[in-house]
Symmetry: C2
Subunit: 463 residues, 2 copies
Amino acid sequence: MTKTAAIIGGGVIGGGWLARFLLNGWDVNVFDPDPEAERKIAEVLGNARHALPMLYDHALPKEGKLTFCATMQAAVQNADWIQESVPERLDIKHKVLSEIQHYCPKDAILGSSTSGFKPSELQEKSDFPDQIMVCHPFNPVYLLPLIEVVPSVQTSASHIARAKDVLSSVGLYGLHVRKEIDAHIADRFLEAVWREGLWLIKDGIATTEEIDNAIRYGFGLRWAQMGLFETYRVAGGEAGMAHFIAQFGPCLEWPWTKLMDVPELTDELVQTIADQSDAQSGHKTIRELERLRDNNLVSIMRALKQQDNAAGSLINEHEKTLVSIQKPVGKIQTVTRKIPVDWTDYNGHMNEGRYGQVFSDAADGFMLAIGADADYIASGNSFFTVETTIKYLVETHAGEDIVVDTTVNLAEGKKLKLSHEMRRVDGTVLATCAQFLLHVDLDTRKSSDPVGAVATAIAALKP
Amino acid sequence: MTKTAAIIGGGVIGGGWLARFLLNGWDVNVFDPDPEAERKIAEVLGNARHALPMLYDHALPKEGKLTFCATMQAAVQNADWIQESVPERLDIKHKVLSEIQHYCPKDAILGSSTSGFKPSELQEKSDFPDQIMVCHPFNPVYLLPLIEVVPSVQTSASHIARAKDVLSSVGLYGLHVRKEIDAHIADRFLEAVWREGLWLIKDGIATTEEIDNAIRYGFGLRWAQMGLFETYRVAGGEAGMAHFIAQFGPCLEWPWTKLMDVPELTDELVQTIADQSDAQSGHKTIRELERLRDNNLVSIMRALKQQDNAAGSLINEHEKTLVSIQKPVGKIQTVTRKIPVDWTDYNGHMNEGRYGQVFSDAADGFMLAIGADADYIASGNSFFTVETTIKYLVETHAGEDIVVDTTVNLAEGKKLKLSHEMRRVDGTVLATCAQFLLHVDLDTRKSSDPVGAVATAIAALKP
């Protein structure tokens, strides 16, 4: 695999796919005849470059090469993954898929971003249906991990398996949908909620802002981490899920039957929604709202990462593939990362306390490099930090790429003194840290000398 | 107002209300004839004591007094707020409300936790309907801020206004619903989504776990911070909300019409859901799932707090009412708080870097105490931290209550040296920090002497 992706259709969705591949080290070819495509993609890519690397506590791979192609052939002929994100009309999709398949490798994955059509509908006019599947993403594609992978019976099992592997490798989660269905899974929920929202506005029960508050101050917080059914399982308590349904089913049934009508999207209703939305958010530009949304998402997803749960577990799994442990020779690069938005104050400066975090991470990186890893700790040995002195030299901002180099200043028996230097990638030293650690026997909880390969590795690093 | 709440019905919902009031310093009377009530409430209160204080970077007020009452009269006769959370049957609600009103003050707020009934239905048999309103919370009530405040035309405006004030004062958000309606606002969405979920399971499209993943890896993350309409406003881009609806309305209309049926809750479907839920979450007890949910919610809400957005803005607003600035005399208590779960590693130990955070917060607290506040910074003056030395003495765990005392070691012109001592409330010293700061003129970006009242305050603290 050459790790080349072709993006066919470069709007907000296509641009999001592009950013996801490019920032994970893939080369990306774009084909979109829209003269505005390059500008639109630059905007999405700008947002993605700001936000996606902030999810991780380690730098992403070097960006791949981005090529705007004049022809469909140039874009797809060498691609491993081709993602179609053209407008939501079946005749257009058929035409574009046919042209793609005229030029693309037969073993390439051909994913469609359609939010409504079934894969069998997309495959109707194709001579090679086995490579076609729905890969339905969620905006912003460069942050949200969910991809609904919907094959038809004609899609080949090997293409499906490879698609899921590729998605994981770029930090996405391929949710394999068992049977094809209109609107897949998530959009059925979104449409149901959208319909209820329209009724509430039409009937004057609530404004767009009140509805958004009803969601984000309540069940939205629950759903971000557990979804629907596990939330109800917890609410039901020890009696179990069947009991919960038995208890709440009957009293919920009656209002359900009132919610079946579809409100007509009259001009008046559309205008009401637009006016309410302006009153709610019109004081911010779309660019500002995008940045606000992305900063919130980064912070929420990093919070779940710290809990190693829900979407945060996916990030941790992906991050493991980014870390390569250096062979310890002299100076060791122990941290390489971007400063995330949840580390900064309202001015965008890194909080004083987070310098301590960076140097704590540097010590962790050093420990991995000398082999003082989880196995070493499980064997009853560890280093405890006793004292750190940090000198703050230059202000640091959200979005900056930094590295930390670590050297050993002293290694005598149980004592270890490390010196960390935090730099911008341009070389500017931002802060330094002197760290004093003691080796500890975790059984006796008393200081002790390092053992085995760790002792050898430290000896080799002594000044 | 005596800050006394009466909780009528002490299940998961009543217990959550109880915890919210109690942990915000209210005295709480409980009336629930269930012999298990005391045990059930202890469980909810245990979870709440773990989680709620972690949302804040400042300690909550001293807990109020909790009293289990033998009679309705004893519970409600002196209450400012009475919250009814009895089973969801109108005849029971009428009987309980009537008994409450027989004994309670006429100016007390009488809120019902009903998720389905309209306030006018609750008021049907009442001689004093003006004090009755729906105050519909969301589980876990001790963490989620949303309360749907639904009055009828008979509810008095002064009761409604006071209810919203009280809710804010205990960190809740009263969403005033403009017109009464079955199931209020949020539950209409929950029911719509629940119905679609049942269909997906019945039709074999997805399992409970797959549905939960479709939510929590995708739109659940969006909804936790922006809700539905602002999310779509952003997705629609510069063209605006009306354009978005015009573009997406038609292609969404067709699948909508397929989603109108109500699935019958047959025994078979109930069993399928229960089995799938067991396969998904059965390896964890409900207690474990509650703790997992609460830790996730605390972390997500603290992430939004750091962004000062969505539910996090509500916490910041509430926190402002908790902080009292001390008059600076000798030793100043600059931090008083609980260690939150997002500050700890998988063993529950506080991360090394977070000690730096605590001492950075201590310096902030000191600055407020000497008057070096936002106005002082706006006038072009500030202190920058140049160097910190932290000594780590004792391991610290999530959930521990800590304080930091700060003393001035040196104050000479532009130079300021602070000494911070971090202690458990039992007195154990956990860590110390020596901090060297320089006063800076923010215009010239050069060091300078403190000015005005700040200079005077520092001089008074010199050793």
